[in-house]
Amino acid sequence: MIQMNNVVKKYPNGVVAANGISIDIKKGEFVYVVGPSGAGKSTFIKLMYREEKPTSGDVVIAGMNLSNLKNRQVPQLRRQLGVVFQDFKLLPRLNVYENVAFALEVIEENPKDIRKRVMEVLDLVGLKHKVRMFPNELSGGEQQRVSIARSIVNMPKVVIADEPTGNLDPETSWEIMNIFEEINSRGTTIVMATHNREIVNTIRKRVIAIEGGLIVRDVYGGDYGYEG
């Protein structure tokens, strides 16, 4: 589902955030990406949804080689992925329903199907009763649930999450993790960058550790592995 082949990413300011990363993530896997701040986790994630282009090497997502991808094809890639961010990235002027529906409107889905599908995912994340509320009226955990609903509403093969629990309190974080596990159990591949050692050590999954732009550890059912 996700392959990286000797990927190097060098930023214009000289920082090398990926220094020859190769990885193969299979369909249906749940993968944590861990590592100290500034080690290249975010770049690793951004390379997957083509916010960043690799300096060299290949990134292949769901059969699309991102090196050959033209700018105008990027929307096609992003429709195959769901992306969840630490800061939720909801559209502030749209309400809960509209935020989730937006991901279906961009693919010009039939309005009847949009309604049905949006209510389904809002039910899944437990926000069916707050469809008319705006993001600033919701708690952080609720906002993140909206953002997850949006990321899965068009049934992507992969959900990529960049520290989805980073801004949330522990209790809410567990609720969010439950949703991710539920999504994963339905066959969606999940790649999640995280700093939350408790989660990684409790819900055991494949763990990829990145340091200095390199994968230093790749263990199935591994632990967080960093102190504090």
Partner: protein, 309 residues
């Protein structure tokens, strides 16, 4: 899997276009103050444009009228024999008509000339009716007012011409003055247009910069550039339309009233202002079209900057 490589070039569905319109109107409401700021900028500048255009068009009309009023007065030599006089006058008239650049020749006998004088200066002059000292006259108009001087000089050389009058120096100065004022007016309007474009598109840019994050999010969710851009551009169009309502109303009401007050006073005078009907349609159309163009263009350019996510 490779079907994903196809670009998003399929024609936009009707319901998506309707969605863009819905979205643009919703956005106007939800952006309250930003919408208000943009509309105000459009309103103020278009009001200036409208007022200046009306002033300039009227000045132009006055200049045209003055120019058209310029004519050459040809005094015909007095010939004693009536038959001879008649044929000489006919020949002169034909010659003048054949001159290039002449549009109109009107004959006025010395009796008619005296009537004109009596009309202007009073019955005292009626004693001249016994022995009229005036000449028969031809009034000549040039096709282009600027040719007046040339035409007059040519007529001077014809036979049986006693004198040619056209206010030599005055006409020259008048024309150069009118031309200068027209050019100044044109420069003023152009300057104002550029200011308007700059001011309005800048205001719109600021409101869109405030929504930079929104554009970025839309792109991250998989929206194509046009999907993001079209609602903004339609919104720009609404801003233009809404912003031109007040200027159109003010300009129309004020001009109609000015016309009502001035028109009776100017009746029969050389100086005339433009009629309400074609002028207000033209100026209002100009205001509306400019508002829409600037709104659309301003939005288009401003969104473009943020689409490269």
């Amino acid at each position: 899997m490779y079907e994903m490589y196809t670009e998003v070039t399929t024609a936009m569905k009707g319901r998506t276009i309707r969605r863009h319109f819905r979205e643009s109107i919703k956005s106007l409401g939800r952006n309250g103050w930003m919408t208000f700021a943009s509309i105000s900028a459009v309103t103020v500048t278009l009001l200036l444009v409208g007022v200046f255009t009306i002033i300039m068009m009227n000045l132009n009309k006055v200049a045209d009228d003055i120019e058209k009023d310029v004519e050459v007065k040809v005094l015909i030599e007095i010939i004693a024999d009536p038959a001879e006089a008649k044929s000489a006058e006919a020949k002169l008239m034909k010659d003048i008509k054949n001159l290039p650049g002449v549009s109109e020749v009107v004959y006025s006998s010395k009796e008619q000339e005296l009537d004109l004088l009596i009309e202007s200066y009073g019955e005292d002059l009626s004693l001249f009716e016994q022995s009229n000292p005036l000449n028969n006259v031809l009034y000549v108009k040039a096709k282009e007012p600027q040719q007046t001087v040339n035409v007059a000089k040519k007529i001077e050389k014809f036979d049986n011409v006693n004198d040619v009058k056209y206010g030599e120096e005055k006409v020259g100065k008048l024309f150069s003055f009118l031309n200068t004022s027209r050019n100044v007016g044109l420069v003023l309007i152009l300057g104002l247009l550029f200011t308007a474009i700059f001011l309005i598109s800048n205001t719109i840019r600021i409101t869109i910069i405030a929504r930079k994050d929104e554009i970025e999010i839309m792109k991250l969710v998989g929206a194509t550039n046009s999907f993001v851009r079209i609602p903004f551009v339609i919104e720009g169009m609404w801003l233009g339309v809404l912003g031109s309502i007040v200027p159109m109303t003010i300009v129309s009401i004020v001009y109609v009233n000015i016309f009502k007050v001035l028109q009776p006073k100017l009746n029969g005078e050389l100086l005339q202002i433009l009629d309400v009907t074609p002028l207000l349609y033209q100026v209002n159309a100009l205001i509306l079209v400019m508002g829409i163009l600037i709104g659309v263009w301003g939005s288009f350019m401003s969104v473009r900057k943020f689409l490269k996510v």
